[in-house]
Amino acid sequence: MDKIRVENLNAWFGSMHVLKNINLSIKEKYISAIIGPSGCGKTTLLRCFNRLHELSPGARVEGNIFLGNLNIYGKDVDPVIVRRRIGMVFQRPNLFSNMTIYDNVIAGYILNNKRLSKSEKDEIVERSLRLAGIWEEVKNRLREYPSSLSGGQQQRVCIARALAVQPEVLLMDEPTSALDPISTYRIEETIRELKKEVTIIIVTHNMQQAARVSDETVFMYLGEVIEIGPTAEIFTNPKKKLTEEYITGKFG
């Protein structure tokens, strides 16, 4: 079943045409990886899914993206609502440094003035941190500040924070590129577990990570989708020559 459907999506940075007529579908509760060389537009595409791209000065988007039945680029659609249904984890952990770990995890509720009882908050915090695979490590440190955690731990708390508002889709923009191999491995484990809860779209410049983690792979080059298909096929039997050349490292 299609969770997300992209129709004729075009995006610009000023006069630079960075996404050219993108058409694709993302399947529900799948992990889809977007790969491609630097500058191919994969991060831009990801940021179009939660309408973050248009916040950059000079940025423009045309086309449609359907989340279920809703066209998130529809005329009267509030981007803020979209972002509550589609969450994001960034390249570098960006926890709020003046909030405790506990408050960071439920920030999605607090900052939007949602009233919750203490027990509701506790429950959400624990559930989210468990899903992110870091509950045991921080359960006694919830009142501490993010700076006391390592990079890998902070990134997991970011994942917990994004999951706390129960989004339908989780976008991950090169989530392990700033981390060491061990943290990377553990987060990849977590991502595979999370498939049961959310649809995941992950951008990565690391092909091996895409091969390890994802069910579907989208290969992009110079702003266009070149090929999309089951990960196993893309990596063992790509249909397009360009895909094959990228996979085998002829350019990157």
Partner: protein
């Protein structure tokens, strides 16, 4: 020029440079020391608790002036801080093009603007229509003086907050205005608070603008629509008077004023450096 000469010139110039610093420090301690010596022996309870009395009459104080300065500063802050912060937010958080450029430029212009002229301006737009000097006019004049200081320090603090923090909030579905109020500003709070403290210290010491707006009042007054006494105007009047008694009180009050202002500056500095390490 041989090497020996160059070495001598080097020594001489560097020593001169050090001397200039000593000269600067000398003036600091000379001026402060003078106020201290001349003022300390006239500091007593009646200075803080009594109303002004004619020269030569025993007792008498500047209690109403102290309260007046506090009121003027408080009201000025209530006006100047929010507006100054909003100007900074307009410049850094929104893409307002030409308007942002003008706001930034005029903030610079207003920063070292003669405060006398600001006082005269407020005289024309508030005192004349109201047909009276007033604490309100004084506060407005002071708030105009505070505006650019607050705007500049807030702007610099906001710029230091990385974009990723804002994006984290947007990605959670937090609207922009809530992001600014509940994420960006708290992140920048130490710089903003420091700026406010320094702005307050600055306007507490202003005299010229008050001469045309809040004027002076030797009786108790808490009203915003009547003239109000202030420490600076009182000191100015007393110091330029021919009476020894008043001059002594001027120095004592000046000591009080300078002490408050310097303490504010020192606290602001310490707060800024402590928070910087966090």
């Amino acid at each position: 020029m041989n090497y020996r000469t160059r070495k001598i010139i080097n020594r001489v110039m560097l020593t001169i440079s050090m001397i200039t610093f000593l000269i600067g420090s000398l003036f600091l301690f000379w001026i402060l020391g003078d106020v201290f010596i001349k003022g300390i022996r006239y500091i007593n309870f009646s200075l803080f608790l009594e109303l002004p009395k004619p020269p030569g009459v025993p007792g008498g104080g500047v209690a109403n002036a102290i309260v007046g300065t506090l009121i003027l500063t408080l009201v000025a802050s209530l006006i100047g801080v929010p507006i100054g912060m909003m100007i900074a937010i307009a410049i850094t958080e929104y893409h307002l093009g030409k308007l942002a450029w003008w706001a930034k430029f005029l903030t610079e212009v207003l920063t070292s603007f003669p405060t006398l002229i600001i006082g005269v301006f407020v005289y024309t737009i508030i005192v004349i229509p109201m047909r009276t000097f007033s604490a309100l006019a004084g506060s407005i004049a002071l708030s105009i003086i505070m505006l650019p200081v607050i705007a500049k320090s807030t702007e610099e603090s906001l710029k230091m907050v990385p974009i990723s923090v804002r994006e984290a909030a947007y990605a959670l579905g937090v609207p922009k205005w809530k992001t600014i109020l509940r994420v960006v500003i708290p992140s920048a709070s130490s710089g903003i608070v420091t700026g406010i403290m320094i702005a307050v210290a600055r306007v507490m010491g202003e005299t010229a603008p008050l001469l045309f707006t809040s004027f002076n009042n030797v009786y108790w007054s808490l009203s915003l629509t009547k003239p109000i006494g202030s420490l600076t105007v009182t000191i100015f009047n007393y110091a330029t008077s021919p009476y020894d008694d008043w001059r002594n009180k001027a120095f004592a009050s000046a000591l009080v004023l300078v002490t408050i202002i310097l303490i504010l500056n020192i606290i602001a500095r310490i707060y800024a450096s402590k928070k910087g390490k966090h």
